[in-house]
């Protein structure tokens, strides 16, 4: 709730990065971050701390992995990231500020409003903090560009964004060819107890739409709402997707059929249930594009194969 209010209150600083003067490797660099703060970096950062798993993935994808000196305990990708010193968990309350400071970072890359308290404190201590907020693919490209600019990997960022953009466009081009009557009604189970799904504005909601599916809970404004199971039954999805979350593991026909009333749902009757890897479909990093491709392949296997995947 708080997060949503904050989203409304803060105009994101994405255009700022694209507007910045193109000057390769010139210092200082100044950008406006996801919290609308101005971030100034005096010289090329050599000690970077990442406070979200997605940021860690971005840094490594840009080839700045060897300068990452601190990560969260959730940073599991790439493999190399696991061996870096931990600064705590992902939630702001579990981050050890002293551990961050002790790493003597010259740049900290933080998450969105959820970490704003930590961001404020670090900034007061004179540590440059870039807070990133990714709401959609455009936002992801912009953040990669911004991080690239601040760590002095601008060219790598441009290359990466270019390839990500092409892959997303390829998926969208294929899904655009799917006639409206062949588009599948999709229910995405974010969590099982309570039953939670994804609204239209959520990243998952966008993945479904971009892949050519119809999100049965597209009418919900909340990002990850707890939904009524009657509504799931009544909306009768043709495909059920879920991520291999820590809790329930894979979604199976047996599990879903055992739920009261669910055996009548088309997807359950026909066994069209797919479990997708959680990280690429939930972390707003470069692998989100993998997630999109996996969603598309799960929904429309023929189309995806036809395109040579």
């Amino acid at each position: 709730m708080l997060r949503r209010l904050a989203v409304l209150a803060i105009v994101w600083g994405l255009p700022a990065s694209t507007a910045t003067v193109r000057a390769a490797e010139s210092w200082p660099q100044v950008v406006t971050d996801g919290l609308g703060r101005s971030v100034r970096i005096e010289r090329k950062p050599l000690r970077v701390v990442s406070m979200t798993p997605a940021n860690t993935e971005i840094l490594f994808a840009l080839g700045a992995g060897d300068r990452v000196v601190g990560v969260t305990s959730w940073c599991t990708y790439p493999e190399e990231a696991k061996s870096r010193p931990k600064i705590g968990g992902f939630a702001a309350t579990t981050i050890h500020l002293e551990a961050v400071v002790a790493l003597r970072p010259d740049l900290v890359i933080a998450g969105d409003e959820a970490q704003s308290l930590v961001v404020g404190t670090l900034a007061q201590l004179g540590i440059p903090v870039l807070s990133v907020k990714v709401r959609d693919f455009a936002g992801l490209y912009a953040v990669i560009g911004q991080v690239g600019q601040l760590v002095g990997e601008r060219e790598a960022a441009e290359t990466l964004v270019g390839s990500l953009r092409r892959r997303v466009e390829a998926v969208v081009a294929r899904s655009r060819l799917i006639p409206p009557e062949k588009r599948l009604r999709v229910y995405w189970e974010v969590f099982d107890a309570p039953v939670m799904s994804a609204g239209r504005t959520s990243m998952v909601g966008q993945l479904i739409e971009l892949a050519g599916g119809i999100n049965v809970f597209a009418d919900v404004r909340e990002e990850y709402p707890q939904v009524n199971t009657e509504a799931v039954v009544a909306r009768n999805p043709e495909v059920i997707l879920g991520a291999d979350m820590t809790q329930g593991g894979a979604l199976t026909v047996e599990i879903l059929r055992a739920r009261p009333g669910w055996s009548t749902i088309a997807a359950v009757r026909e066994g069209r249930i797919h479990t997708l890897p959680a990280d690429p479909t939930s972390r707003p990093g470069p692998r989100l594009v993998d997630g999109l491709e996996k969603v598309a392949a799960a929904l429309y296997p023929q189309t995806a194969e036809g395109a040579g995947r």
């Binding site: 107890a193 919900v220 939904v227 199971t229």
Partner: protein, 354 residues
């Protein structure tokens, strides 16, 4: 209300019940009909609205009707409504019993530590990855139940050994224990970075996704609890007028207290196990019942149960209709409706309840 009359009735020295007995007759029919109508409304309302005709068609499993409506009615809404009614009644009788035994208007199932105990049980099960279910249910309900039971037992033990005024010390013990258990819950959540919404869902209560298996598991426990409390109604009346009085009447106070607390904790624990922590029902239903029927427990217990059932059925209607298709935790609804109502009662009665 009149202590001495209740007391003499409790002591069995006179059979002066006819006046209030008549009152109970009329009111209980009214309450029963209200409950049935509330449940009918509950069957019609929700993410998909059914008209009375559609409800009738679906109830008869008429093949001419829509199959989805039959599924929603029989597999989802009917068990959910029955469970809401049962849990409402269970919380209400638990509240009635706790308030009587502690002679304290605030002694609802949660003040004496049952809620935080259940929360800790749930959190432990989550963080330790406990996956053993019970009676076809997931691991969380039994964990919540055991937690509630353990917390109330510890509170009781502390109070028993503490000496002095046992009522006050039990309430104090329950409160202190509650604070400690809540701290433990928070610690576990932070330590393991648990998905907050899962615990949140339990802490605020919900009937989402509950089916016939829950109803089947829950009813017998509530029935046992109710029957036990029903048979201790007279001793409860005596206890309400004070331990000294009860003792002077030859009542085995300690045994009665343990029996009543056991039965009430069972009802409260099963309620938590079925639906998470739902506040205010156990507090409000007994108060309204007492306003309507006086303090005699033969009348108070059934009236309280019916009122609790009605309250929770309506709260659940709200929970699944207000933001449909989004579910609101039912505890938010009971607190939202119950809180103001309780304050209103408190104000009208000049700050004096019970």
């Amino acid at each position: 209300m009149n202590r001495s009359r209740e007391f003499s009735a409790a002591a069995g020295t006179s059979g002066t019940e006819p006046a209030s007995g008549r009152r109970l007759g009329g009111w209980s029919v009214l309450l029963g009909v209200t409950l049935l109508l509330s449940m009918a409304a509950s069957l019609c309302l929700g993410a998909v609205t059914l008209s009375f005709e559609e409800l009738w068609t679906a109830l008869r499993r008429d093949p001419a009707g829509e199959a989805v409506q039959q599924v929603i009615l029989w597999d989802l809404r009917l068990p959910r409504t029955l469970l809401a009614a049962a849990v409402g009644a269970g919380l209400a009788i638990a509240g009635t019993a706790f308030q009587a035994i502690f002679r304290n208007a605030l002694a609802d199932p949660y003040v004496i530590g049952a809620s935080s105990g259940a929360a800790l049980g749930t959190t432990l099960a989550l963080t330790l990855g406990w996956s053993t279910g019970f009676a076809g249910l997931g691991p969380l309900p039994p964990a919540a139940f055991l937690g509630a039971l353990a917390a109330v037992s510890v509170a009781l033990l502390l109070a028993e050994t503490g000496g002095g005024s046992s009522v006050t010390s039990l309430l104090l013990a329950g409160t202190a224990l509650g604070a400690m258990l809540s701290a433990a819950v928070s610690f576990l959540l932070l330590w393991r970075d648990q998905p907050w919404f899962q615990v949140f869902n339990w802490l605020l209560g919900s009937f989402s996704g509950r089916g016939w298996s829950h109803v089947a598991v829950a009813w017998p426990y509530f029935a046992v609890s109710f029957v036990v409390l029903w048979f201790t109604a007279r001793p409860l009346d005596a206890l309400t007028s004070g331990e000294e009085t009860a003792r002077s009447l030859g009542l085995r106070v300690r045994a009665v207290r343990l029996l009543v607390i056991g039965a009430a904790t069972l009802a409260a624990g099963v309620a938590v196990a079925m639906s998470g922590i739902i506040g205010f029902v156990g507090l409000i239903a007994p108060h309204i019942a007492r306003l309507l029927f006086g303090a005699g427990h033969r009348r108070l217990l059934p009236a309280s149960a019916l009122l609790g059932a009605i309250l929770l059925v309506w709260a659940d209607i709200g929970a699944r209709s207000v933001l449909a298709p989004v579910e609101v935790p039912v505890g938010i609804v009971t607190a939202g409706i119950g809180g103001p109502f309780f304050l209103f009662l408190l104000k009208r009665r000049g700050g004096r309840l019970a």
